[in-house]
Amino acid sequence: MTDLTRLDYASVRKGLTSKAFTVKELIQAYINNIDKTRHLNCFITEMSEHALKQASEADERIRNNEARPLEGLPLAIKDNFCTKGILTTNGSKMLSNFIPPYDSTITQKLSDAGAIGLGKTNLDEFAMGSSTITSYYDPTVNPWKKEGSDRDLTPGGSSGGSAASVAARSSLIALGTDTGGSIRQPASFCGIVGLKPTYGLCSRYGIVAFASSLDQAGPLTRTVRDSAIVLNQMAGHDSKDFTSVKYPLPDYEAALTGNIKGLKVGIPTEYRMEGLDSEISEWWEKTSQWLSDQGAEIIDVSLPHTKYALPVYYIVAPAEASSNLARYDGVRYGYRAPNTTSLEEIYELSRTQGFGDEVKRRILLGTYVLSSGKYEDYYLRAQKVRQKVTEDFTETFKKVDVLLTPTTASTAFELGENVTDPLAMYLQDLFTVATNLAGIPAISVPVAQSKEGLPIGMQLIGPRFGEETLLRTADVIEKTAGFKLKEEF
C-alpha cells in the first residue's frame, strides 16, 4: 500500500470516499511518523489513543455515508489553542499544568467538521519568538538540513512545532497563530504553505491571548488547496469573539481557478532592502516573472512607512502582552510559587518563576511604554504610525490586487544562532509584521530550494477579506514552482 502520509487532504478525501483506505489506517500511519520523528520535538502533548478512538468513529460515519467536510483529517494543534480536558501549556512553565474546561472555537469547529487531533505542538513561550527556542519544552528542530551538514536548524516560530510536523509528515495539517509572522515564517523555513487570514475572519475565542489586536489563527498545510479546504471550516462569525466579523463567506476552494489573467500584482520597492539574501531576491524576480507569463500585470508600488512597521510592532505587541499576561497571578490557575506567605508574594514569585526570560522582557518593555509619562511618547505615537502603515496598504490596494514579497530575508538559521542579538531576531519579522498591524491577510508558499538545499518561501499580501485572490494566486505559484518536500527526513 502507498504511504498514506504522502497524500494531501484533497487526495485523502477522495481515498476515504472511495474506501481505498480507512481513517484508522491513515491515523495509524501518522502515529507511526510521530514515533519516528520524535527527535524533532514537534509535540508537547500527543493524543494518539484519543485519535485512534475518533478514527473508528469516523470510519463508522463514512460507512454510513455521513462523512463531514474534514472527516478523518490528521490535525496538529498549536499548544496555545485551548482544548477541553487536554493539557494546554502555551510552551510555558506558567501553564504547564493547565487543563482547559472548554475548547477554542476553532478547535471545536474543526472537530465538529471531522478533524482528528493528533497532538498539541511546540511553540515559543506564549508565542513570543521566531524560532521555537524560547519554549519551556525545549526547541523544535527543523526536518530540513543544509546539504552535507547535520547541524540542527530552527523551524522558525512561533508555530515551529506545527510547521515542522506538517513538513515531517507527523501531521497533515496544523493549526497556528500569527501575531507578527508566526505562521508564515515557519511555513517558509519548513517548505510548506502558511496562511494568516484577515483579522476578524477566524475566531480568537479560546486562543491564549498574546497581542489581541494582532493575533489571528490560520492553517499550515502542504498545499494551497488544503489551506482553502480548512479555511472553509475555520472562517466565520463567532459571538464569543467581539472582534469577529460577520462577513459573507465564499467557498475558498472554488477560488482556485488557475486563472490570473489581468491580475495586478504589486512589488513594493521598500521590500528590496539591505540584508535580503541574494538568492531569495532572485527567486522573488522569478516568481514575479511566472505570474507575468500567465497573464498578470506586474506593477512597482511604494509603501513608504514600511520601515516603521517593525518598531511599531515592538511597542504595540509587548504593550498588549503586558496587559494580557497580567492575568497570570498564581491564584486561579497556572503555576504558583511554593512557600509564599502573602498574596503580593504569590503574584511576584509565581510570575518570576513561571515566565521565561523572553516573556519577562516583553512584559517589562510593554509595561514601560504604557507607564505614566511614556504612554503618549511611545504607545500613542505607535498607534498613530500604525494608522499610517495601514493607510499605505489601503492606498496601494486601490491600484493592485495582491502584493508579492519574500516571506523572510533568509532561509532557516541554525538553532542558537542570532539569539544573543535581540534586534537581529526581531528582524525575522521584517516582511511579515506590517500585515498584522493592518489586519490584512497574507500567505507564504514555497517556491524553491536554495543552493544549500533549504526551502525559500514567497509571500502574497491581499486587502482585507482578499483570501480568495491570495489563494488563487498562491495556487498558480505552487503549480508553476513544482516545489517538493523531501522524501525522507
Binding site: G200, K307, P311, R336, L365, Q383, G439
Partner: protein, 99 residues
C-alpha cells in the same frame, strides 16, 4: 535612550515580576538599544492622525455588539477548580489578606 537599573526596578515593580540580579545589566543594555531603534518613530509626522487601536475599528458596528444577557455556560465548578493551585470548598485559597 538609556534605560538604567533603577528604571528597570521600577517597571519590575509595576509588572510584579523580577529578572535575576545578574541579568539586569544585560537587559538594561538591550532595552536601551531597542529604544534607540524605536526612536525613529519620532521622524513620522503624525499630526492629526487618529490612533489605531485595532484593525477593525472602522467596522466596529459590525463587530462589537452586545450579546443578550443570558447564561451560555457554567455549572463546571469542578473543571474550573481543578486548575487551581490551592482550592478548598470550591474556592481559591490564598494567604490571609485582611487582618
Amino acid at each position: 535612550m538609556a534605560i538604567n537599573r533603577s528604571d528597570i526596578k521600577r517597571i519590575e515593580k509595576l509588572a510584579k515580576l523580577k529578572l535575576s540580579e545578574e541579568k539586569l545589566d544585560d537587559f538594561s543594555v538591550r532595552l536601551s538599544r531597542v529604544f534607540d531603534w524605536i526612536d525613529q518613530l519620532k521622524e513620522v509626522d503624525v499630526e492629526g492622525v487618529a490612533p489605531m487601536a485595532n484593525p477593525l475599528i472602522d467596522l466596529q458596528k459590525y463587530t462589537t455588539k452586545l450579546r443578550d444577557d443570558v447564561v451560555t455556560d457554567g455549572d463546571c465548578v469542578k473543571e474550573v477548580i481543578q486548575n487551581a493551585p490551592n482550592a478548598q470548598h470550591n474556592s481559591f485559597v490564598v494567604p490571609k489578606v485582611v487582618e
